[in-house]
């Protein structure tokens, strides 16, 4: 394993605006780095880097602000016009469906090696470490499939509503996408989190970055028909029917019991839209259930059927998987709500701070019980806390972005965030969580995440009691 050691000196340009020093390997080719290390720096003369390097090495009094070093009339990125300023660019529709910049390849869904045995029943994690705001780009939405995914022809997809017995639904019906898209629709922003998110960390630190600790999390604007509208259209008995079963059309035909209370609230949506376009195949195209606040497995993908009944179903994914083992050997069944949780996404595990000085500590908070009321951040491992700023919009059962400024003085630090939701629920620490649930639950780990900052700027995953 090769780790560059990076020394962090006093900031050269205090008050001078942009941070000017960068670690060489970030903008030099390997060949150039080799030349620098072998002492041949001549080729760099005239470049801005040489100026910065010279200043970093010698006396800096006043030099920074004036950019007076002879080699540095300024930044070559400014002084030498780049090709994009001096040539014709590409025409419209060169990429009919636009793609991210070729420089953005770092932002990808990734698997955690060794987590599962086969990729058809597995997880890919969302790259939280580089995301802004609250909306997850559809192509980066986390994935969890039980029996692989399909790209279903929407004209051949059907959605059925029926009752456990004819008593529960007077008029069992079948809808096509044509039908559903004629009905009144709503668009709402909600987070979706797998119940097993952070599940690898119950007992101890296991994975290096926020992508793997918290990346079974995404947030989108979903568009579709409230399930209650469809149940009413079919003459469902909403008093006797205390539960509904949602069922998928994939090989696993995923089934989950949904509380009628949530359906009655109008929050549960039979959705076809995601961030302004149709759902992505990996996320249930052409139809999925949206069950705000509840763990992802209940948001049944490739939704083909909803059944109304008076008792829960104890399906495979609520009697065999997705059950939480407690210290007394009992399993919690039908654990569904994702309780308040938060995480700092930058700086976070596996990253390195490039310099002392100012940082925007930023992260996400969410609660399955409603809105986020407050997020606190600690820089000393939980001894003292400050309130972070919540970025609007702050929506119910949706990700909320928080930010707080921090001046890193070069000393070790431990960064934490703590969410409080509108019910007054405070996100627990590992001690509190383990006291009641032990370490074998797998599901519903909403403990406070800690990131340790070392003197060399390296950030790593730790657990603080």
């Amino acid at each position: 394993m090769t780790r560059p050691t990076r020394t962090i000196e006093e900031s050269t340009f205090e008050g001078g605006g942009a941070r000017l020093r960068r670690a060489p390997e970030d903008f030099l080719s390997p060949g150039e780095i080799a030349e620098v290390s072998s002492g041949r720096r001549g080729f760099l003369r005239g470049s801005f880097l040489a100026a910065a390097a010279a200043m970093a090495g010698g006396s800096v009094a006043g030099a920074g602000r004036a950019l007076a070093a002879d080699a540095a009339a300024g930044d070559d990125a400014i002084l030498k016009l780049p090709p994009w300023s001096t040539s014709l660019g590409q025409p419209v529709a060169a990429t009919p469906y636009g793609m991210p910049s070729k420089y953005e390849t770092a932002m990808q869904r990734r698997q955690s090696p060794g987590l599962t045995q086969v990729a058809g029943s597995s997880v890919s994690f969302m790259p939280l470490q580089g995301m802004f705001g609250i909306i997850t780009p559809s192509g980066l939405h986390f994935e969890r499939h039980h029996q692989g995914w399909h790209d279903i022809d929407p004209s051949r997809h059907r959605f059925m509503v029926n009752g456990s017995t004819p008593d529960f639904v007077k008029k069992p019906k079948v809808y096509t996408l044509d039908d559903l898209m004629r009905m009144p629709s709503v668009s709402r922003m909600h987070f979706i989190e797998c119940g097993a998110n952070t599940g690898m960390e119950w007992g101890n630190v296991a994975v290096p970055t926020v992508q793997y600790t918290h990346g079974m999390l995404s947030c989108s604007e979903f568009t579709g028909v409230p399930l209650i509208t469809l149940l009413e259209d079919c003459g469902a008995d909403l008093k006797k029917g205390k539960f509904v079963l949602a069922e998928g059309a994939d090989g696993s035909s995923m089934t989950r019991t949904i509380p009628m209370e949530l359906v009655l609230s109008g929050e549960v949506i039979v959705a076809y839209g995601q961030n302004g376009e149709m759902l992505r195949p990996e996320n249930g195209y052409p139809l999925r259930l949206v069950v705000p606040g509840v763990q992802g497995v209940s948001w049944v993908k490739w939704l083909r059927r909803v059944e109304v009944g008076d008792a829960p179903w104890a399906t495979k994914d609520e009697a065999d998987h997705y059950i939480d083992l407690m210290p007394d050997g009992q399993h919690r069944q039908y654990s569904s709500i994702q309780e308040a949780k938060s995480v700092i996404t930058s700086p976070s595990g596996g990253q390195t701070l490039l310099d002392k000085g100012h940082y925007n500590v930023t992260g996400l908070a969410w609660s399955g019980r409603g809105k986020i009321k407050r997020v606190d951040v600690s820089f000393d491992g939980g001894m003292n806390w400050v309130e972070a700023q919540l970025q609007t919009p702050v929506l119910s059962k949706c990700l909320t972005r928080f930010n707080v400024g921090w001046n890193w003085d070069g000393r070790p630090a431990i960064l934490q965030s703590r969410a409080i939701d509108e019910t007054g629920f405070v996100q627990p620490g590992y001690r509190q969580l383990r006291e009641v649930r032990g370490t074998r639950s797998i599901y519903h780990n909403n403990a406070i995440q800690s990131w340790k900052v070392a003197m060399n700027g390296d950030v790593s995953n730790v657990q603080v009691l």
């Binding site: 456990s164 079948v174 290096p208 509840v294 059950i323 709500i337």
Partner: protein, 351 residues
């Protein structure tokens, strides 16, 4: 244009109107007239396959342990092992249950912190769940291919492997009720938690179980670090420098060779196999659902079979390696499939 396939739909719409009678004549904005149609009894039967713990939805049928063993060996053992013990494709199904558990209804091994394994029979409280699971989702690569009697039989076999029923047992829609009474973890579930919205489950409002308070100042004297990332785990997830943007307030740490260097130019054949979904069923050196690629290379060594194998993979099929069929591989491009076939016949080299 009127197509023949539109006919049933129009018919059903008409039927729906007939059923609801006068309501069809209403022109209120939200009666959704013309939207959706009544489901037919045959359609309901085809899709409404769920079975509840009280056995509502259970189809009639029966199967013996012996019949189940044949099905298991033919269709399930490749992934789950002859005795349901395999860890290869998924966690073991059988094991960890003691005779005493059948009496208590609570698997004792679950209370032991030194017993990490959790097999299916240690967890599942309701036998209906297993019937429903196998009927809707197994075999994993050919879900919903078993008849109801086959589901009864293979479940009988699994129950026998777990010492819950004797080897001459016949499972049917009546005896399954007796099995429920001795399911080893039937009392192992609790609804006593605050993570279900509403009261319908436990009959009461349960409060959250963690009671954190938001202290702001001097909350403790020092942070106690209980666990840190082990060194091997830092490198186990690839090069973190490649997983972070090249601009911004931070960079990713260099923890391994660059991903870009590793996959420079064309993707490797192994990566292509992964991306094409082949590795869900094939591994290079061990048999999963299909033969290992080394076995394939070995079998055809020295023979010119590229075209034949190309056609076989494209069309799918069974019989060469066993009863399990490879589904047709239709998505993969000709050029990529050629690359893969050549790679496999060459012994699937890593470079």
């Amino acid at each position: 244009m009127f197509k023949f396939s539109d006919r049933p739909r129009l018919f059903f719409t008409a039927l729906a109107f007939a059923v609801v009678g006068g309501a069809g004549a209403s022109f209120a904005l939200d009666d959704f007239s013309g939207v959706g149609r009544t489901a037919t009894p045959a359609e309901l039967k085809a899709w409404d396959i769920d079975v509840r713990p009280d056995f509502l939805g259970l189809p009639k049928g029966s199967g013996s342990v012996d019949q189940g063993m044949d099905i298991w060996e033919g269709k399930c053992a490749v992934c789950h092992g002859t005795f349901g013990e395999s860890n290869k494709v998924f966690t073991p199904l059988v094991g960890g249950v003691e005779k005493e558990d059948l009496k208590t209804g609570h698997v004792a091994a679950l209370m032991r912190k030194d017993f990490p394994a959790r097999t299916t029979f240690m967890k599942v409280p309701t036998v209906s769940t297993l019937f429903d699971y196998i009927r809707r989702a197994m075999p994993w690569n050919a879900p919903k291919s078993l008849g109801d009697d086959e589901v009864y039989a293979v479940l009988a076999y699994l129950l026998n492997l777990s010492d819950i029923v004797p080897s001459d047992f016949v499972l049917n829609d009546q005896t399954i009720r007796d099995v429920q009474k001795i399911m080893p973890n039937r009392n192992g579930m609790t609804f006593d938690h605050a993570m279900w919205p509403g009261k319908a489950l436990s009959g009461k409002d349960v409060k959250p179980d963690t009671h954190a308070v938001a202290c702001m100042k001097d909350c403790k004297t020092a942070p106690e670090i209980a666990s840190s990332l082990p060194d091997y785990a830092l490198a186990s997830h690839g090069n973190l420098a490649d997983q972070n943007r090249r601009v911004g307030q931070v960079r990713g740490q260099v923890t391994a060779a660059s991903e870009a260097a590793a996959t420079s130019g064309k993707p490797s054949a192994a990566a292509l196999a992964e991306a094409s979904g082949c590795l869900g069923c094939h591994a290079v050196s061990s048999r999963l659902v299909g033969p290992s690629y080394l076995e394939v290379a070995d079998k055809y060594k020295g023979k010119d079979v590229s075209a034949q194998i190309f056609a076989k993979v494209r069309a799918g099929g069974e019989g060469v390696w066993g009863d399990i069929a490879m589904p047709p591989q239709e998505e993969i491009k000709d050029e990529d499939l050629k690359t893969l076939v050549a790679w496999i016949l060459d012994g699937a080299p890593t470079k």
